[in-house]
Amino acid sequence: MFGTITPDMILAILPEISLLVVLAIVFIVDLVLPETRRGILAVLTGVGLIATFVLTLLFANPGNSAELVWGGMLRHDMLAYVAKLLFIFAAFITVLLSVKLEDVWLKGEYYLLVLTSTIGMTLMAASADLVMLFLAIETTSIPLYILAGFMTGDNKSTEAGFKYLLFGAMTTAVMLYGFSLLFGFAGTSNLYAMADAISAGAVPGPVLVGTLVLVLLGLGFKVAIVPMHFWAPDVYEGAPTPITAFLSTASKAAGFMVLVRVMLASFPNILADWQLMLGILAVASMFIGNVVALTQKNLKRLLAYSGIAHAGYALLGVVAASELGVASVMYYLLVYVVTNMASFGVVIIVSRIVGSDEIEDFAGLSRRSPMLALVLLLAFLSLAGIPPLGGFIAKVLVFAAAVEAGFVWLAVVGVLASIIGLYYYLIVLKEVYLGQPKSEEPVPVVRAHGVAIVASVLLVLILGVIIAPGYNWAIAAAASLF
């Protein structure tokens, strides 16, 4: 089945190999490092992630080719390549944001789990086989369950880990049941071969639609769309904030990569069915996410509901099921990841000093630390979709994709929902700029945190002004699926 191992096959899993090497190094260093010098672990992980990013960027680019490697387990294409870079970047920012964070940053296993989860995500983006896909999803999720409940001395964190695990284990089992039926009737586990089996009529109609629903439930959990969104606010609120950032960006993006690939590769025969289903889910996510976010008092919960709404917007690109559609999802995720990293970065910096994530504790931040307030302003305006920030271009693209594919009503609903969205972002900004600060002292910023938010917010601006490079990547990634 494998034959000989060619250099191409090695290059296809270069990011995973590199991450594994970093993981091994951190593991060994963690064993021999004295208690007092544990800070080195964060540096080591960060440097390792940068090295992985550079290696991937330089050597793992598949160009225009897209081939199945490792016996059909993985597909080496642009979509996987761009997504892997995105996940490695997100992991790097997560590590930066974890620095100096009590209860987490001096523990080696924290970095090991982040790295393991990143490996799972990179594999998720490339999986072309049900078995590999399942394995990748679990490699991503299981470390995240532990990370969400990492602060064992904190009631909210343990509760977050517990809830995430119970919901996650259930939805994975549901999705896996769908996989087993697909696998059995189609007679193959390869996502691409499955489309042929399905169009040959190997899977009876009702079973096909049933499995589609089961698979969508499982993937809907990963990307946190209605009706599988219940876990998100609780887990986001309780988990250590860098992990919340990681969950809401990289984990969500990985879910979208799988969603796009599975839907387009395996289910082109029932395109209209899943377009309608996902369209309805997108509308529900946009509205429920935005409306419930209006009432939130906690900034992390607010961002969780905003994340549900954003998953709804990104879903419009999936519904379009065209090259522009997939490219718009990719661009949306690029922007969403950097924007949310900037927002959570500010939350981490402020809550480390203030000791709470309630919105009222951010009052008057502009007078205490104008730069932090500015970062939050740019990030939130980008989330709300105001030009010239990245979020605006991303929204334009997904709406354009929906209109191009004939879903004008979805684009109209999306625009209406983003108007609701604008309101709660502005409420937070009003508090930040016009509220009365409890103290006038500036909020001290750890250098690593500063680097993380400045890098993220610069990318938000760049993705909004210089569109071509990001868009070309997104288009190349989309083209590799068609």
Partner: protein, 102 residues
């Protein structure tokens, strides 16, 4: 020979019992047991399909072994999280672990 559909029905029933357990039980350990039943339903499906449709291929077996391994890992992590919450709250009832809502 027993027709394939019997196995599929058995698996479907097992899956439903497991799902009912997950949704209706309050005890976290019982919920994890429900998940195990659901995963076993998956395994019955896979093995039955292998026997009837693709007896020459090993893919289904590999899938079943991987499902086993993952299920074990998931329960190990699950029980660890249950213990960590039990240490703080002295309860493992899912409906009492509700510090955060809405």
């Amino acid at each position: 020979m027993i027709p394939l559909s019997w196995y599929l029905v058995l698996a479907a029933l097992l899956f439903c019992i497991g799902l009912y357990g997950v949704l209706a039980r309050k005890n976290a350990v019982a919920i994890l047991m429900g998940v195990e039943l659901m995963l076993n339903a998956v395994n019955i499906n896979l093995v039955a399909f292998w026997r009837y449709f693709t007896p020459d291929l090993i893919a289904a077996h590999a899938f079943v072994v991987i499902v086993f391994a993952i299920a074990a890992a998931e329960v190990a992590v699950g029980l660890a999280l249950v213990i960590s919450i039990y240490r703080r709250r002295k309860t493992v009832a899912a409906d009492e672990i509700n510090l955060m809502k809405w």
